[in-house]
Symmetry: C2
Subunit: 314 residues, 2 copies
């Protein structure tokens, strides 16, 4: 309501677009050459200046590529068509209650009520317990936030605020869950090109909630180091997470290669959007199709090993 036209809509340089969209500079240039999009203006030196509208469009395109579309199918389309394509994917099956809760939490986010958002999350957590909190609230909310962002209904600061608050709540929970210390010993991380943090944080919390001894090494760990660390630390399981941004073909190749390197006695669990319907191509790897699945995976590991180390005193 003040004097802020001309705002953040300034044209961006190619390096800024790379940071914003995650598309490599080289990719942006080669798309321009091949598909005539994006078609940035040029400054007096002939360097690219991307108008805000094109960057916006690139964000949606990125999202579509992550969902399996191919460049040739999306790089001709206009923004309206792209949004239609986006809608065609979003067929998530939420209960009415979940939809309502997501909407009210999103509203807090849009109003920049960080403290209240955190309180609300903690409240749901306290009422429903860690497991249901993550599966029924955080997971759908993550998706809702991502969707709202590409739609332009959320700003970047709002998205960051969300991530920070969820991270605080989850890490707090993780600290409190420590000390259960039963097997399996699970090593949790991601491959070097996967930077998504919330995924492994949710898995870490869920594993601890099952009483498993789960250690996270964060994101972006070199593959050779994962195998070595798991072996030296006597881990029973290595668990890896792949967001939708990870090219699924690459995920399958890397995982199968990694299975070869990894000690046969260590199980390999992998999950995330990039592995949707890829079970058949992954040999000797447990695919975690769903966060809900983790509980049964841990149970079945214990059954097979007959290591009933669970609270024998209770």
């Amino acid at each position: 309501m003040m004097l802020d036209f001309e705002d953040s809509q300034l044209p961006m340089r190619i390096a800024e677009v790379e940071r914003d969209t995650g598309l490599a500079k080289e990719t942006l240039r080669v798309w321009e050459r091949r598909y005539q999009f994006p078609k940035p203006e040029r400054d007096e030196l002939g360097e690219r200046l991307y108008p805000f509208t094109q960057v916006e469009q690139l964000r949606v395109i990125r999202r579509l590529l992550d969902n399996g579309f191919r460049p040739s199918k999306v790089l001709g389309k206009n923004l309206g068509q792209l949004h239609e394509m986006l809608d065609s994917i979003n067929q998530s099956h939420l209960t009415h209650e979940q939809t309502v809760r997501c909407a009210s939490l999103l509203k807090l986010l849009r109003l920049h009520r960080g403290a209240e958002l955190r309180q609300a999350l903690n409240h749901v957590f306290a009422r429903e317990g860690l497991r249901r909190f993550i599966i029924e609230t955080i997971a759908p909310l993550n998706k809702a936030v991502g969707d709202a962002w590409v739609r332009g209904e959320l700003t970047i600061p709002e998205e960051h605020l969300y991530t920070e608050q969820v991270q605080n709540v989850l890490r707090h929970a993780i600290q409190n869950q420590q000390g259960v210390d039963d097997r399996p010993n699970i090593l949790l991380t991601t491959f070097p090109d996967e930077a998504h943090q919330l995924g492994i944080l949710m898995v870490e919390a869920l594993c601890l909630a099952e009483g498993a001894n789960c250690l996270s090494l964060g994101t972006r760990l070199p593959i050779a180091d994962i195998a070595k660390y798991a072996q030296e630390g006597n881990f029973d399981v290595v668990a890896l997470s792949f967001s939708g941004a990870y090219p699924s073909q690459v995920a399958v190749r890397d995982l199968n290669q990694f299975r070869e390197r990894l000690d046969k006695n260590i199980e390999l669990w992998a999950g995330g959007q990039a592995l949707y319907r890829k079970e058949k191509r992954l040999h000797g790897i447990r695919v975690v199709s769903d966060l809900d699945h983790i509980q049964s995976l841990i149970k079945s590991w214990r059954d097979v090993r007959q290591v009933d180390t669970s609270r024998s005193v209770a």
Copy 2:
């Protein structure tokens, strides 16, 4: 002690080197052209393959550049000379007790005792309180871990383990400190090219410990968004963090530009290694030269405003 020669020492492609060292592909190529280093081998296609030793050397070079050395001074030297130069910088003044404590915590790290490391951190935290814990333990430890890493005394998984555990401890503390809610209202974040997380986490915890209402938006926030968000949210202060990896010249330019954009009524605080001895060039900006300084900054803000909203009930 098993059959693992030939291990992670495999030559790396240019994209991997970029990820590992943080040096842009373009920079690596232009260095090769101008300084004949790094001089990677080539595969059958003529594509660069960097031997492990060169990557190791690049890591040290990166560290030296972050400390103000110029490429022409370091790109001719061999690994031994580079390490000498590194030593010449590391003149940190730690007490004997701090040195001993750092060493023992580092040892836990090298032994992969994640749980014990966290326990030890929590123990120090409980005994010394949040403020002393961060300033006298976490800050020196961060530096020790960074130094050990370029020396090759720590592996990447060990460094990740450290970051994860510290993050858990700090975020746990942050959750517990919430609810003080006095002014100043501080907005905490970093510029888009700054990805270092631990810095702002420490500052966030310290501000909350002073009873200030501090909100973190994480790292890598677009500059225009920071100004807008701070204004709309009625923040008193915007605080920004700059690690040693941020080119200090760029930091100064960006900060002064940002000061222009930001509402005059909002104070701008900035700190971190990149701003060492840059106070003179920063106009209208409070330079946080030291974590210890934050306490007095908050105090003086309250004095000036005469907003003594502090615990009047206690």
